[in-house]
């Protein structure tokens, strides 16, 4: 059996560091020791296959429309080599239009919407496309620092073809004035890498007389250009 091709390492600055001084929750949770650089084996080059139903519309619960601005979010999931990820499960979750999660631990004094749960699951098609309908989430306060507010965002969870491609990230909205103030967004040093987390308004995704559309493409780690790096064979 041939050895799996390692995944490319991140370009420095394009991923957030674990230890990020301005994001308080990292202080006691970021490991202090360097990770062990491990060889890629079948364990990391394979990934679960999910036979689960999809649920692509968060904007309606039991026939009732959620409160807020309905939007469509769509994009492609590719790897760094440009290959589409087919049949990949994309899980998303978010706060409601008022900035509150349907979650017992969210005590923000904003109304819950009985017709908004804030969770969806879709699968990419043969060209890597995913698409779901939701409500534009609201900003909400958090206790990281004085007068801290999270920019509006949607959480994304993705599985690639290898467990080493596993990704949880957040999609932000263009023009959000909170982005330049957000320690989580700013933790990624590289400006281009940060800006890739910001969706783009897209008239092609927009559906006439129904909802504005946003495009958010996601890139998972791709094959390393030098499969024999660092003598891991």
């Amino acid at each position: 059996m041939s050895d799996p091709i390692p995944y490319a390492r991140a370009i420095p600055g394009t991923q957030p560091p674990l230890d990020s001084p301005s994001y308080g929750s990292t202080h006691k949770r970021a490991p202090r020791q360097e990770p062990i650089r491990a060889p890629l084996t079948l364990t990391e080059a394979t990934s679960p296959r999910f036979a689960l139903p999809s649920h692509a519309d968060m904007s309606v619960v039991e026939g009732h429309a959620a409160m807020g601005e309905r939007i469509i979010v769509a994009g492609r999931v590719l790897d760094e080599g440009g290959s589409p990820l087919r049949g990949s499960m994309v899980e998303v979750w978010q706060a409601n239009a008022a900035g509150r999660y349907h979650h017992a631990r969210d005590q923000h004094d904003a109304p819950l919407d009985p017709h908004f749960q804030g969770q969806a699951r879709v699968f990419t098609d043969d060209e890597g496309w995913y698409r779901f309908t939701t409500i534009r989430p609201g900003a909400y306060p958090w206790r990281n620092h004085h007068n801290a507010w999270r920019p509006t965002h949607i959480h994304f969870s993705l599985f690639g073809q290898g467990f080493a491609q596993r990704l949880i990230t957040q999609m932000y909205f263009p023009g959000d004035p909170l982005l330049p103030l957000d320690p989580i967004f700013l933790a990624t040093a590289d400006e281009e890498a940060r800006n890739r987390l910001v969706a783009k308004f897209d008239l092609d995704v927009t559906q006439p007389e129904f909802a504005l559309g946003y495009r958010f493409d996601i890139t998972l780690r791709g094959p390393s250009a030098t499969p024999f790096e660092e003598g891991h064979a």
Binding site: M1, D3, A10, I11, T14, P16, P17, Y23, S25, T26, H27, K28, R29, A30, P31, R32, Q33, P35, I36, R37, A38, P39, L40, T41, L42, T43, E44, T46, S47, P48, R49, A51, E91, W93, Y101, H103, R105, D106, Q119, R121, H155, S157, F163, A164, R166, L167, I168, T169, I184, A187, T188, E192, A193, R194, R196, I218, T219, R221, H232, A233
Partner: protein
């Protein structure tokens, strides 16, 4: 350039399906799977030794033949509870081929997501009674005094305990793959 990771935050439970912690559940992909039934459990703590009660733990492991391309889906997801504990029910994986015709000791890949983790952490669980641990290609890269952070011990037969310490003293060995 791959998309930047961001923290799962404190409200990831919207994608928690508690039944996913039981890989052998009757209505799941592995109903009726043959093998040695095991429980994997542990506690997650931070740099102060405080319980981490809002982490999401995922596991991924091979079937008893050491394969990932069979019917068995060795994937589970479990949130830590109010005591920082996670607990999975599954079947014990077999040895898995490593690179260059090596053989890896039976192991379970673990991914840890939480508020305060801007990228998820990756580690492995090995089983204390496995002779193959001595020659495992990955364990051999880990300083001997830290290997114990990746080796689960039996608390009762079939129940394996591995505590995860995110930071400090006996900090878990995390992997960069």
């Amino acid at each position: 350039m791959s998309t930047a990771h961001q923290t799962a935050g404190p409200f990831w439970h919207l994608i928690d399906f508690p039944e996913w912690a039981d890989l052998l559940r009757a209505d799941g992909p592995n109903a009726g799977a043959q093998g040695e039934r095991i429980t994997l459990q542990g506690t997650v703590t931070d740099g102060d030794g405080a319980l981490v009660t809002d982490a999401m733990i995922e596991i991924w492991h091979a079937d008893p033949e050491g394969r990932y391309d069979g019917a068995f889906q060795g994937f589970g997801r479990c949130g830590t509870d109010a005591e920082g504990r996670f607990r999975f029910t599954t079947i014990k994986p077999g040895p898995v081929p490593g690179r260059g015709n090596t053989l890896q000791a039976p192991h379970v890949q673990i991914a840890i997501f939480a508020r305060g983790l801007l990228q998820h952490l990756t580690t492995r669980l090995y089983f204390a009674d496995e002779p193959l641990n001595e020659s495992d290609p990955l364990l051999s890269l880990v300083p001997s005094e830290r290997r114990c952070t990746m080796i689960a011990t039996p608390v009762i037969p079939g129940t394996w305990q591995l505590d995860i310490r995110l930071q400090g003293g006996a900090e878990t060995v995390f992997l960069d793959i």
